[in-house]
């Protein structure tokens, strides 16, 4: 994909990929950029959490993103998920890919249109260093986290308790145990009649993406609560 990035005619002629990488280094640091570029991260579920997590990780310049969801974009998703009217009826995996390619076409993307379960986690996320749990149901959340902890040596960043609005400061990142991080207030669920509202879901998504980056950078985050 050709990106018209060289708008300044006096600028030297370099490829879009080189230019994006250069800008990412300038805006961050070489060490950050190089480590993120070498990482492969899986996003399980591309709803309110996952679509926003994928966008944050693509913007940050993660090297490879494995993106998985079985669902189609519905009008009712647009209140919080990172899609547009034009995506209604499209596969979430394909719509996410389209959006992310407009942000950074030089990342390696691996979209899967698939219902994830324990029979295919390994096949989909085999090469991921970190898996981000971004499912909707509590059963699916628990299933994936159990699988990661029992059957792999990967790290998992999950979410629980993201419904409602307000109470921004109760959205926290907790280190539950080795290789298991959990974002949210742990209690606010859709079952309590609370709906999912864009800002609070996006807050949790940003926590998850931010946690991924601090894990990649091997930087113990002193603000993470036990």
């Amino acid at each position: 994909m050709e990106v018209p990035l060289n708008s300044d005619e006096n600028r030297e002629k370099i490829s879009g990929e080189e230019l994006i990488n250069r800008v990412l280094v300038e805006r961050g640091s070489t060490r950050l950029h190089e480590k993120l570029k070498l990482s492969t991260v899986g996003v399980a579920g591309l709803g309110g959490l996952g679509s926003n997590i994928a966008m944050a990780l693509a913007r940050a310049g993660i090297g490879k993103l494995v993106l998985c969801d079985f669902d189609l974009v519905d009008l009712s998703n647009l209140n919080r998920q990172n899609y547009y009217i034009r995506h209604i009826g499209h596969k979430k995996s394909a719509a996410t890919l389209e959006i992310l390619k407009e942000i950074n076409p030089y990342i390696s993307y691996e979209p899967h249109d698939l219902y994830l379960n324990s029979s295919n986690y390994g096949q989909v996320f085999g090469e991921c260093d970190i898996i981000v749990e971004a499912f909707d149901t509590s059963e699916c959340k628990a299933d994936l986290v159990n699988w990661v902890l029992l059957h792999t040596d990967k790290r998992v960043v999950a979410a629980s308790g993201v419904a409602g609005y307000g109470f921004s400061n109760t959205i926290m990142t907790r280190r539950i145990r080795e290789r298991f991080y959990l974002v949210g207030d742990l209690v606010s669920s859709v079952r309590d009649g609370q709906s999912l509202v864009a800002p609070r879901v996006a807050l949790a998504a940003a926590h998850q993406a931010n946690c991924v980056i601090s894990l990649i950078m091997n930087q113990p985050d002193s603000t993470i609560v036990k």
Partner: protein
């Protein structure tokens, strides 16, 4: 028995029974006993006693 960092007087019981007594659901939790994750298939047979240190994380829906 220590459950999520708090010493509690609980009868010796299986992981399954403990989950139930805490009003949680087996399908919505991750359970660690003495630092090791317990396989869900073993919840029924894994017997807990007073010396066990248990961590249970329950998930709620929404995402």
């Amino acid at each position: 028995m220590v459950i999520n960092g708090v010493e509690r007087q609980m009868a010796n019981q299986s992981v399954s029974e403990l989950i139930k007594s805490l009003n949680l659901s087996e399908k919505r939790v991750v359970v660690e006993v003495n630092g090791t994750i317990v396989d869900r298939d073993l919840y029924h047979t894994f017997q807990l006693d007073q010396n066990h240190v248990v961590e249970i994380v329950g998930f709620v829906g929404g995402g």
